[in-house]
Each structure stands twice: as structure tokens, then as C-alpha cells.
């Protein structure tokens, strides 16, 4: 045993780190081509392929645009794409000469990506056309399946780093996302009708209602009537539908007074035109509908490339290799039955709860439990679905179907689908109800008043009151406030599902954090070395060995060595990776081993719970690297700020409690819970909500938090890289900005004040309008001027106010 004397390693001064020309990862200078350095063979292969095909422009459009191809390329991974079953599910169109297919490519991130992917045809003959939709990160490919099979197309994409995400979900529903277009049509039609009605109403205004030529006057009115029809029956239909649905449930929502106002304006105008008593209020009505549709569009413009409703199906691959009578057959997951034998390779996911039959399984459960150190499994042991295999190929026997496996059970739990969260809880609805009640009583009061004074005016006063006091400016104020706030949140990389999440955020009083991945870095850790001092050469041996290993701890050690020391590149001979144990190889005629304590020293001595990587050179145990979670920058300050603002904080972790002491210094008041299973987390949140009546915000990252995210009032998925997959949630937050959480929450609260202030402004406008209406003096011109002005004032006000509020909070 080495003396475990601690050595403090000082970073050498201002070390210049070489970056991979392809993917930008820091690397040594061992792999070189044309004066560029590469971090791994994968990157340099891609570079060479692009160079051969004259596609080096890829590197000129943006620097280091490439995506590192993770792990070793597995030639059998896509074999299931040769099955007609899988092809039929994926290919959208097929004739004798051509097939068409669309894939989701989460890696697409820059102009270079678009350029390369749209030039696929020059790399692979047979591909005739490819086009990227950047918003949705989708690629559309047309190819000749006689020349190039589907599998080859997918393999090419995977090779150059853009592995398509083919999941079980894709195969089950081929939903086309064209819902948004309908809204655009409505806006287009409303805009067309509104502008023309406006134009035809001008003569009426300028002559103050006295146009001498009767034919012209009537022509204008009748054209207006015609133009108002599409607005009333097509563009405004959603307000009527929504109001009707609300009334059916005996619920007066904000669309009810709007629908009433549109209905009143339309019917009174039709009456006036047909009876030739006046020009009607078509212009105001068209304006209301047009502005409100724009407001809704502004608010609902969300993030197409994110999916907030993933269930386990999006995580699971589509294809799997089955063993039937000793032969490996590619197959699809949906055809998997109990007692089937399957093959799972390095980095592949186990799709159903199974028993290990053959091979050495090193199982990464980080997806399921959050624990990120792989566990070794022996033959006959049970492995849960959602786990990933690291290392060699294993054979498993399925004991439960995909739908009934442990992790998927979470989704079958009824709580999970619960009623749609936060629906109808918005403060806009109760406010608009008061508004409607006040409006009706005012109209009734005016009606009674005129019944005594001058009965001729009853109809005119009541109907114009209902027209002018449209709560449209109220609706506009909330839609534009929240729409704008969504954009500010998005600018700070918090992508919310919709506007109602902002309101829910403003009501939160309890925050629950997941530890691993949320508060700590996933790809970065603090590493320190204990043992006999190493020479530069020895460190380079360890680096060379760690570089080729797929194990997450090896990667951390590699990163650490590269960051702190100067490395001499070495080639490793006889490289072997033993799953769950470590790696060994011969470098410079010395046998180097890196791995677990048991593997290196022969006995298990680890007293602490922290992760350790032991090192031996020529069977001489040198020491070990101890790896600690590294907390994200600013987490401590954020926790302190949140606690002073009276938020209750909780920590739930799937890991063991080795970090308890350190974590408690960060969160002095928070209860810390360790060894929490996904189900425990879900129950914990439920408990908080039901028994303590807390309104809970949950931040988590993995599939293991999915249940808790769903159960909480607001669930935010934290992601190191927003192109990665995140569990179903109400929002996705870039992990670099976790420390801005307090600013986000306070901004959400400010949003309510902005809405309130803009409501007061719109109420003032309503007073002016109503005073005209109740005195039975509302001319169409006054209405047509008042409405746009009030809308414009409100939109300007909320835009400025939300901007100032964001700036104050450093967002």
C-alpha cells in the first residue's frame, strides 16, 4: 500500500490547451492531419471523409462545428433498419425509385450543420436531396433505395456525428405538426379583412357620416358586411368555441366577454347596414379580432425543437437484436415478448427488465437512479429497463414486456397523467369574471336609466356598452406580458413550455433540487491525487490509457490530467477494457493498469463512499485519484438568496450520502434526502403538496426525476446541453444558468405586477369608452379610434415594463 499522503498539485502556468479541429474538445497533439489536431480517431476520420469529398467548407463556416462521435462505432447498431417492419414505420413515402424519410437530429446547432447535411448527396451516391428544418432540428432525406439502403443513410449520418434519434415513439405516431399554420391563416384573413374594412370606413369618418352619394355609401357598407363574414365565422371562431366550452362547464372564462362583444358588434352592425340606419362597427370588431389573434400567436410561439412531453418511449431505441435459435436477428422493440433472448452491446439501453444470461455486464443506472458509477452484474441477476450497458456484448432474457417494466410503470401510474397542470388557475380568469359582472351591471343600469329618460336610446346604449367595453385590452396585456417574458426567459436559456408556467412559477414557495447533474457538473468534477508522486512520464501513461476508456471516471481523470499537466502522447499496445474493473495496456514496455481498488490492489479497501480510480505501473501500486462532485458555480449564493426570500429548499438525491456534509454547508436549512428511488422522489413531492400544501418547483435532470418533475407544480429539467434529451417537464433550463434561479423566480413574480398595471391602464380606457357608450353617443369613429389606441398603449407599456424588470434582475 502506498502512503496516502496528499499532494497538492499546482496547475502549470497558463497552459495552452490544444483543441480538436473537429469537435473543439481539449486534446493532446498525437493525432494530426494537415496541420490540425484531433482528439480521437473518430474526429479525424470524419475530417478525412469531408476532405475527400471537398466539403471542408464545413470548418470555415463556424469554428469547431463537429460533434464528437461517442464511443466506438458499432456496425450492428442499425441492423434493425434492414427489417421491412422498421422501414415501413420510418419511411414516409416510397415508390420504385425513391424513398423519403425524416429524422430528428438533436445535434444540429449551427450554419455548418445545415451546410454539411444539405450536401449529403456529394458524400453518398444515392441520396438525391436533403433539407434541414432548423427550428425543429429535422432532416428530410430523399434517396434511391436501390442504390443506398435506409441503413446506410442512417449509418452515414451517425458516422459524421449526427446520429438520428430513432425512438419507439417515432414508430407509434407519425403526427404531423401543422397545428400552428391554422393560426397563421386566421391572422392573414383577419388582417386582410381588417385593413380593407378600415379603408372603406374612412370616407364615413371624414364626412362625419354624411356621404352624398347613396350608392357609394351603400356599396361601402355592403362590402364591409361581406368582408366581416370571414372574420366573424372563421378568424374569431376560436373565441366562440372557447367561450362555449367554458359556459358548458359553468365557468366564465376570459373568452366569454370577448365572444359576447364580437357577437354584439356583428349583429348590431348587420342590423344597421341592412336597415340602412348606419355604417355599423365592423371596423372595431375586425380590429379586436386581428389584434387578439396576433397577441395569442405572440404568446404561443414556443420552442419547436424542444419536446416537453416525452415519456419513456422517446428514450427507448426502436431496434434491438434478438436471438432466435442461436442466430442474431434484428428486430423492433415493440415485438419483444417475455422469455425472448436479446443482445445488448456497449452503450446500448436495456429496453425491458431482464435477467443476465451471458457476458459481463457493467450497468450504468444513471438514467434510472441518478447514481453515476456503473455497477457490475453477474449471471442470473436482474437488470432493470433503462439501464445502459458499458463494455462488451451481453445476452439477456426478457422477463417483463417493455410496458410493464419497472421504470415504465412510473408512467402507467395514474398520478402521472393527472389533470393537466395549472390549467384554469390563471389569475386572468377570476379578474375577467369580475370585469364581466361589472360590465353587465353597468349596461343594465344604463338600460334602466334610458328607459325612463328616452326609451329610444336603450338598445343603442346597452349594445354599444357591450361592444366598447370589450376586455380585449385586458387579454392583450396578459398575452403580450407573458409572451415577452417567455422571450426573456428563453434568452437566458430557460425554455418554458407555455405562458401558464410563468404564473405557476410566481406562486411557488418550495423548491426541490435533485443533486447529481442539477447542482453538480455532470462532465466535470474535482479530482485530486493521493499516493506516491508521479513523474510526468507516468502521468502521460495514465492519460494514454484513460483516453481510450469509455468509463465516465476515466474520462474525468483524463480531463483532469489534460487541464493541469503537460502530456506526452503515447500509443497503447494490448489495450483491454474489463467492464466494471478497469483498463490495462502496455505503454513504453511497461504494464499500466487503471481501475477500481479491487482490480488494482486485489482487496477492497475503500472506506469512503467517494469514487476512486487506482493506478498501478508494472504492478507497483502508485496511488489513486479521488473524484468529488463539483458543485456548479454560484449555487451557494443562489441557495442563500433563495433562503432569505423565504423559499423552502429540499434536496433529493439518488446517490449515497457521502456528500452529506459538504452539501449541508451549501444548503444549511434544507432537509437532505439520499438514496431516493424515482418512486420515492415522486412520493416526496406528493407529500409536500398534499400534506403541507406547498407549491413545489422541482429541478431535476434524468429520467429518474421524471416522476417528480411531473408531480410538482412546476417541473424544470436541467440539461447540460439543450440538444440532449430531457424528461417530460414544464421547462428546460440550461445547466449553466441554474444559479440564476432566484432571478427567474423574482422575474416571474414581477410579471404579475406588470399585468396588473397594464390592466389598470386598460380599465381607464374602458371608462372613457363606456362614458361615451352609456350616454348613447358612441359613434363608430370614436370606437374605431379608441380601440387601436388602447391596444397600442398597452402593448408598448408591457414591452417596456417587462424589459426594465428583466434588466433589473440581470436577465
Amino acid at each position: 500500500m502506498p502512503e496516502t499522503q496528499r499532494l497538492i498539485e499546482k496547475p502549470s502556468k497558463q497552459k495552452k490547451i490544444i483543441q480538436c479541429y473537429h469537435c473543439g474538445e481539449s486534446c493532446d497533439s498525437s493525432i494530426e492531419a494537415d496541420g490540425h489536431f484531433f482528439c480521437c480517431d473518430g474526429c479525424s476520420f470524419v475530417y478525412n471523409l469531408l476532405k475527400e469529398n471537398g466539403l471542408c467548407n464545413y470548418y470555415d463556416l463556424s469554428t469547431t462545428p463537429g460533434i464528437k462521435v461517442k464511443g466506438k462505432y458499432n456496425s450492428d447498431k442499425f441492423s434493425f433498419l434492414d427489417t421491412p417492419e422498421a422501414q415501413q414505420k420510418l419511411i414516409t413515402f416510397k415508390d420504385e425509385k425513391q424513398s423519403q424519410v425524416s429524422f430528428y437530429l438533436p445535434q444540429v446547432h449551427c450554419a455548418s450543420c445545415i451546410w454539411l447535411l444539405e450536401n449529403l448527396h456529394s458524400i453518398q451516391t444515392g441520396i438525391s436531396f436533403s433539407k434541414i428544418n432548423f427550428q425543429r432540428k429535422e432532416i428530410f432525406i430523399a434517396f434511391d433505395h436501390n442504390q443506398t439502403p435506409l441503413r446506410k443513410v442512417v449509418e452515414l449520418l451517425a458516422f459524421i456525428g449526427y446520429e438520428p434519434y430513432i425512438s419507439l415513439n417515432d414508430s407509434e405516431e407519425k403526427k404531423t405538426k401543422k397545428v400552428n399554420r391554422k393560426h397563421l391563416y386566421k391572422i392573414g384573413v383577419a388582417g386582410f379583412c381588417f385593413s380593407n374594412i378600415m379603408m372603406l370606413s374612412f370616407p364615413e369618418y371624414f364626412s362625419s357620416g354624411k356621404i352624398d352619394e347613396y350608392t357609394l355609401k351603400h356599396l361601402f357598407s355592403y362590402i364591409n358586411l361581406l368582408l366581416a363574414l370571414p372574420i366573424f365565422f372563421y378568424s374569431a371562431s376560436e373565441f366562440f368555441v372557447s367561450a362555449y366550452k367554458g359556459l358548458q362547464q359553468k365557468w366564465l372564462n376570459i373568452d366569454a366577454p370577448i365572444a359576447l362583444s364580437i357577437l354584439m358588434a356583428f349583429s348590431r352592425s348587420v342590423y344597421e347596414v341592412l336597415s340602412q340606419t348606419g355604417p355599423g362597427y365592423f371596423d372595431s370588431m375586425a380590429g379586436i379580432v386581428f389584434f387578439m389573434l396576433i397577441g395569442r400567436w405572440f404568446q404561443n410561439k414556443t420552442y419547436d425543437s424542444f419536446s416537453f412531453d416525452r415519456d419513456y418511449k422517446s428514450y427507448f431505441p426502436l431496434g434491438i437484436t434478438k436471438v432466435e435459435e442461436g442466430v442474431e436477428v434484428p428486430s423492433t422493440i415493440s415485438s419483444l415478448k417475455k422469455n425472448d433472448h436479446i443482445i445488448v452491446r456497449h452503450q446500448e439501453m436495456i429496453p425491458a427488465d431482464s435477467v443476465l444470461i451471458d457476458g459481463e455486464a457493467s450497468i450504468d443506472y444513471s438514467f434510472v437512479s441518478g447514481e453515476n458509477t456503473p455497477v457490475l452484474k453477474r449471471k442470473g441477476e436482474l437488470i432493470y429497463a433503462g439501464a445502459k450497458q458499458l463494455g462488451g456484448k451481453i445476452e439477456l432474457m426478457v422477463i417483463k414486456t417493455v410496458n410493464q417494466s419497472y421504470i415504465t410503470q412510473l408512467w402507467n401510474n395514474n398520478d402521472f397523467y393527472g389533470d393537466q397542470k395549472n390549467k384554469d388557475k390563471s389569475f386572468i380568469h377570476p379578474w375577467s369574471r369580475y370585469f364581466t359582472i361589472v360590465l353587465f351591471s353597468l349596461a343594465a343600469f344604463a338600460g334602466i336609466y334610458w328607459a325612463f329618460v328616452n326609451p329610444k336610446n336603450i338598445l343603442s346604449a346597452v349594445s354599444s356598452a357591450l361592444i366598447v367595453a370589450c376586455p380585449c385590452s385586458l387579454l392583450l396585456s396578459s398575452t403580450f406580458t407573458f409572451g415577452n417574458m417567455l422571450r426573456y426567459f428563453g434568452k437566458n436559456k430557460l425554455y418554458l413550455k407555455n405562458a401558464s408556467v410563468i404564473e405557476a412559477l410566481s406562486r411557488v414557495n418550495t423548491i426541490v433540487f435533485d443533486k447529481t447533474g442539477t447542482l453538480t457538473y455532470t462532465s466535470n468534477a474535482s479530482v485530486d491525487y493521493c499516493g506516491v508522486p508521479l513523474t510526468r512520464q507516468e502521468r502521460s501513461y495514465i492519460y494514454a490509457l484513460a483516453k481510450d476508456s469509455a468509463h465516465p471516471l476515466s474520462r474525468l481523470v483524463k480531463e483532469h490530467l489534460l487541464r493541469i499537466h503537460t502530456i506526452i502522447p503515447f500509443r497503447v499496445k494490448d489495450f483491454r477494457e474489463l467492464p466494471g474493473k478497469g483498463t490495462e495496456g502496455t505503454i513504453d514496455n511497461k504494464k499500466v493498469k487503471v481501475g477500481s481498488c479491487l482490480f488494482i490492489t486485489g482487496f477492497n479497501d475503500s472506506k469512503t463512499n467517494s469514487a476512486e480510480v487506482w493506478v498501478a505501473i508494472d504492478n507497483d501500486v502508485k496511488g489513486f485519484y479521488r473524484i468529488h462532485n463539483l458543485y456548479r458555480e454560484g449555487v451557494k449564493e443562489m441557495a442563500a438568496k433563495l433562503e432569505t426570500k423565504n423559499y423552502q429548499l429540499h434536496i433529493l438525491s439518488g446517490d449515497n450520502d457521502s456528500e452529506r456534509k459538504r452539501l449541508q454547508t451549501y444548503f444549511p436549512l434544507a432537509p437532505l434526502m439520499f438514496n431516493q428511488s424515482p418512486q420515492d422522489k415522486l412520493e416526496y413531492i406528493k407529500e409536500l403538496k398534499e400534506n403541507s400544501a406547498r407549491r413545489v418547483l422541482m429541478l431535476g435532470d434524468g429520467l429518474n426525476d421524471a416522476g417528480a418533475l411531473r408531480q410538482s407544480d412546476v417541473g424544470i429539467a436541467v440539461s447540460e446541453n439543450t440538444s440532449q434529451f430531457t424528461p417530460a417537464s414544464d421547462g428546460i433550463l440550461d445547466s449553466h444558468n441554474v444559479n440564476k434561479l432566484d432571478a427567474f423566480l423574482s422575474y416571474a413574480r414581477a410579471g404579475k405586477n406588470v399585468t396588473l398595471a397594464s390592466w389598470i391602464i386598460s380599465i381607464l380606457y374602458n371608462f372613457v369608452g363606456l362614458s361615451f357608450a352609456l350616454s348613447a353617443n358612441l359613434s363608430p369613429m370614436v370606437a374605431a379610434i379608441l380601440m387601436p389606441i388602447s391596444s397600442i398603449t398597452i402593448v408598448t407599456f408591457v414591452t417596456i415594463a417587462t424589459g426594465i424588470a428583466a434588466k433589473q434582475r440581470g436577465l
Binding site: G54, N133, Q135, F192, L219, I223
Partner: protein, 55 residues
Amino acid sequence: MSVLIVLVIVSVIVAGCFLAAFIWSVRKGQYDDDYAPSVRILFDDTVSTEDKNPN
């Protein structure tokens, strides 16, 4: 003044053409992606195929 009637009808028809153009462009998917086309237009369209050496 009756010429106004003709003019009004013509102007509404012209505006109708623009509406039709808008609907056509939405249907063609021109509003689906507002980033890729802005980049695509700057690419040089010829990927030099001569570089493809068969040896």
C-alpha cells in the same frame, strides 16, 4: 364618382391576391423555419465535385 366603384372593387381584388399569396406561402412551409433559409442563401451552391478523386 361611379369610377370609385370600379376602383374599390379592383383594390379589394388586388388585396385579395396578396392574401392568396400569403396563404400559399404558409402552405408551402415558408414560415416553418425562420433560420435555415437565411443561412442557406449565403452558401456557395457548387460543392466542387472535381475534388472527388476516384483513386
